[in-house]
């Protein structure tokens, strides 16, 4: 498979860091109030991959998370459920059973998450097992070692191979932008992942700081937008890690709305990977409904 694409395919337009961040700061001043806020927050819930990726995860913790994803706030049946729960491969079966029939998807990280430093065969086998166990979405990590040493073909080939191993499952490719360091690298990694067959490109594992940042996500949105305008093929974007407040989530949605437009404003094409974000969104929605803030203990800790 190696060498299946010429290196020129990975060429990307340069990125000006100052101007990118300026645009981001400008869009952060959008004032999202009233109906627009409620609409945006509900959308944020529907776009959420509720995530737990800890060594100490247990079946009980995962079931609890699944319950929360299906019914974020039992007293508010009008609220949507989350898009997915995101877990380690060994807990996929438990999650799949817990959410069965609800429409909530099960996403599994794979390919030696979070560092990706295992053999290719191990990675592919891990993906196959996770799919077999019931994962309908696979969140892989790219080989940053290969990327940073300029072996883009290796990264591309691995994405292609994992995509194949996914079968029907959707593939999200984690770029781990916190390790790529430059915006030019992010733009290039986005292109490689898209060409390799990613259904989604995703910022981070959540294990490296900084995780998701808005300029990075704006850049990734520009990458999928340009790919769509060139080829007619849509690719989704997932902002993961470090997004904790409803306000921040709305700012991400503004980036989506003003860069890619309506088509991406659905859980099918934009996702948040988060764990603590949901409760803040719920609290803000309750504030909008009742006019006052509720106690944090009114929302379950999962």
């Amino acid at each position: 498979m190696s060498g299946s694409l010429s290196p020129t395919e990975f060429r990307v337009p340069p990125v000006d860091a100052v101007a990118l961040e300026t645009r981001c700061a400008d869009l952060a001043t959008r004032s999202i109030k009233k109906a627009a806020k409620v609409q945006g927050l509900k959308l944020a819930i529907a776009m959420m991959d509720l995530t737990t990726l800890e060594g100490m995860d247990s079946p009980g913790k995962v079931r609890q998370l699944c319950q929360k994803a299906m019914r974020p706030l039992p007293s508010r049946p009008d609220l949507p459920s989350c898009a997915a729960v995101c877990v380690y491969p060994d807990l996929v079966k438990i999650a799949a059973n817990a959410v069965a029939g609800s429409g909530v998807q099960v996403a599994s990280v794979a390919t030696g998450f979070p560092a990706g430093r295992t053999d290719r065969r191990t990675k592919l086998r891990e993906v196959e097992l996770a799919v077999k166990a019931g994962a309908s979405e696979i969140d892989m990590v790219i080989d940053r070692g290969a990327f940073l040493s300029g072996r883009y073909g290796v990264v591309y080939d691995e994405v292609c191979a994992v995509k194949e191993a996914c079968g029907e499952a959707h593939l999200k490719v984690i770029l781990e932008t916190g390790e790529l360091k430059t915006y030019d690298n992010v733009r290039r990694a986005s292109r490689i992942a898209i060409l390799g067959g990613a259904d989604f490109i995703k910022t981070s594992t959540g294990k490296v700081s900084p995780a998701s940042t808005r300029p990075v996500v704006l850049l990734m949105l520009e990458a999928v937008r340009d790919h769509y305008l060139e080829t007619g093929k849509m690719v989704g974007v997932k902002a993961a890690g470090g997004i904790r407040s409803a306000k921040d989530a709305l700012r991400y949605l503004v980036l989506v709305a003003e860069t890619c437009g309506d088509a991406w404003l659905t859980p099918e094409w934009f996702r948040f990977g988060a764990s603590s974000l949901l409760n803040d969104v719920l609290m803000q929605l309750e504030k909008q409904r009742t006019g006052s803030y509720q106690r944090s203990t009114d929302f379950s800790t999962d």
Binding site: R23, A46, P80, L229, A257, D262, A263, P267, E268
Partner: protein, 518 residues
């Protein structure tokens, strides 16, 4: 992805999205983006905290006085055409009164130590920031520019000019080593309507730092923030007569520049009026600085960061509705990326939110006046008549007020009027170049020379181009960035003299050589 039974409305929508996507593919139409599914609720900035009087007098010798002329005229909100307030029409006698007040205040003010003058300037800057929201709202009401800009640019930058010059007031000796800087004397200043408060700050701050006293005339269509600045001066206990603000039309301005007791005139505005002023001060012992029009060029090379260049070009021409003397009104783009870049621009222009200037989500506000709107319409018509191709963003413009949609001409040649004349509105003219040499020739092919923008990823090319641009300010991979420490001013018909930075202060001092300070 397996089909979801998600009960959210977006999930249902995606079914239709999928269908339309397939149809679009089958019909071989170009993929295009759609916007507007998530409408931001209106978020207007409140105006209750801004008390506006029915009528304002002239600020002379530290207090508001009635004009000797006895005449007043209305100032309106360009977004609604509603009258906001009335201001005085100063006549020759009023001008004389103001100049005399400045003259009387001069000995005391220039005798103060630089340290003492700095304290006043610091105080003014701080009070201005404390009252920032009030100033932002008032500026937006009187001028028509969006609250986003007055809040984030005009007011903070105005305060920065006072802070910056406060820092120099006691260090003038360091600026001009071996020479003794002395104030010029009484300075007459005339400022335009596009940045009413900011221009006042640009002019007043360096004048005061160097020990001059001031008579300033704001534009007749946007006088309110300069008048409110007088309240700040009073609050800061600035000595009476150090700054005098007189309002009025062109006749007032003429009376001011002709006044025999002025030592210096500083003007920002149109090239035509600038030339008139130059005639009026000719043969007199009066210093003059002019900051006039512009027809700035952006040069976009094929290797540029195109998405960010699009942002810069948009900022360059649609910031402040294009009412900017250094606006990047000409876009020269390398032929190889012309089509791609123009398409990107068109998509981006469609995202510009035009409307209520008080709405925090508005990107572009109202055209400042009926007169200016007419001028823009006339020049755009000329562009169409001369055969350039017009693209206008579809914007739902309000019925009342003065509005013009973001516009772009392609296929523009060097001889088109829209490529030569300053439109001072949201209208961009696009043409192409093939080589760096051609880009330089075309960029410099103008009677102006205020600013230019270079967009390329190559550092060496930036330096090569910057040294060949006949423009006072050359921005690299950015545009319309201002800072009090950075000198601003032009070549040729864009005027002479600099404002801001050490160079700006030079215009407000006389140097006596051979004397040591102190």
């Amino acid at each position: 992805m397996a089909k979801t039974e998600n009960q959210n409305p977006a999930a249902q929508k995606k079914v239709t999205k999928k269908v339309t996507k397939k149809v679009a593919k089958k019909s071989l139409g170009q993929p295009e983006l759609k916007f507007g599914g998530w409408q931001y609720a209106s978020a207007p900035e409140g105006t209750d905290h801004v008390a506006i009087e029915d009528r304002y007098g002239l600020f002379i010798n530290g207090e508001f006085v009635r004009p000797k002329s006895g005449k007043y005229f209305a100032t309106i909100n360009p977004a609604t055409e509603k009258k906001i307030s009335e201001v005085a029409q100063a006549n020759g006698k009023d001008v004389d009164r103001a100049v005399q007040a400045a003259n009387k205040a001069l000995p005391g003010w220039r005798k103060l130590s630089g340290d003492d003058r700095a304290r006043y300037l610091f105080r003014i800057a701080r009070i201005l920031l404390e009252r920032a929201r009030e100033f932002a709202v008032l500026e937006t009401l009187d001028n028509g520019k969006p609250i986003k800009e007055t809040r984030d640019v005009d007011v903070p930058l105005a305060a920065q000019h006072f802070f910056y010059h406060a820092g120099w007031a006691d260090k003038l000796g360091l600026l001009f080593p071996g020479e003794l800087p002395e104030p010029v004397g009484v300075v007459g200043q005339i400022i335009p309507w596009n940045f009413p408060l900011l221009m006042a700050a640009w002019k007043i701050a360096p004048a005061l730092a160097a020990g001059n006293t001031v008579v300033i005339k704001p534009a007749e269509t946007s006088p309110l923030t300069a008048l409110r600045l007088c309240e700040v001066f009073a609050q800061a206990e600035l000595p009476a007569g150090v700054v005098n603000v007189i309002t009025g039309d062109g006749a007032t301005g003429q009376a001011l520049v002709r006044h025999p007791d002025l030592n210096k005139v500083a003007f920002t505005g149109s090239t035509d009026v600038g030339k008139e002023i130059q005639k009026a001060v000719a043969g007199r012992k009066v210093d003059l600085t002019l900051e006039l029009g512009g027809k700035a060029a952006h040069l976009v090379f094929e290797d540029a960061a195109l998405d960010q260049a699009v942002e810069g070009v948009v900022r360059g021409i649609f910031f402040n509705q294009g009412h900017v003397c250094c606006a990047g009104s000409r876009l020269l783009v390398q032929e190889s990326v012309h089509d791609l870049f123009v398409r990107k621009l068109q998509r981006r222009m469609a995202r510009i939110r035009v409307g209520d200037p008080l709405d925090k989500n508005t990107d572009m506000g109202a055209i400042h006046s009926a007169e200016q709107l007419q001028r823009i319409q006339g020049l755009v018509q000329a562009g169409v008549d001369e055969g350039a191709v017009l693209f206008q963003a579809k914007a739902a413009l309000p019925k009342k007020g003065f509005w013009f949609a973001p516009s772009m001409f392609t296929g523009v040649t060097q001889s088109h009027r829209v490529a030569r004349e300053e439109i001072f509105g949201p209208v961009l003219s696009v043409s192409t170049f093939r080589t760096p040499e051609e880009a330089v020739v075309k960029a410099n092919d103008t009677s102006y020379g205020l600013s230019a923008g270079i967009w390329t990823d190559k550092g060496a090319r930036i330096l090569w181009l910057a040294s060949r641009m006949r423009a006072g300010v050359v921005w690299n991979n950015t545009f319309n960035r201002f800072d009090a420490a950075s000198p601003f001013g032009g070549y040729q018909e864009s005027g002479f003299g600099r404002e801001g930075g050490r160079q700006g202060l030079r215009a407000y001092v006389k140097l006596r050589s051979g004397l040591l300070p102190g």
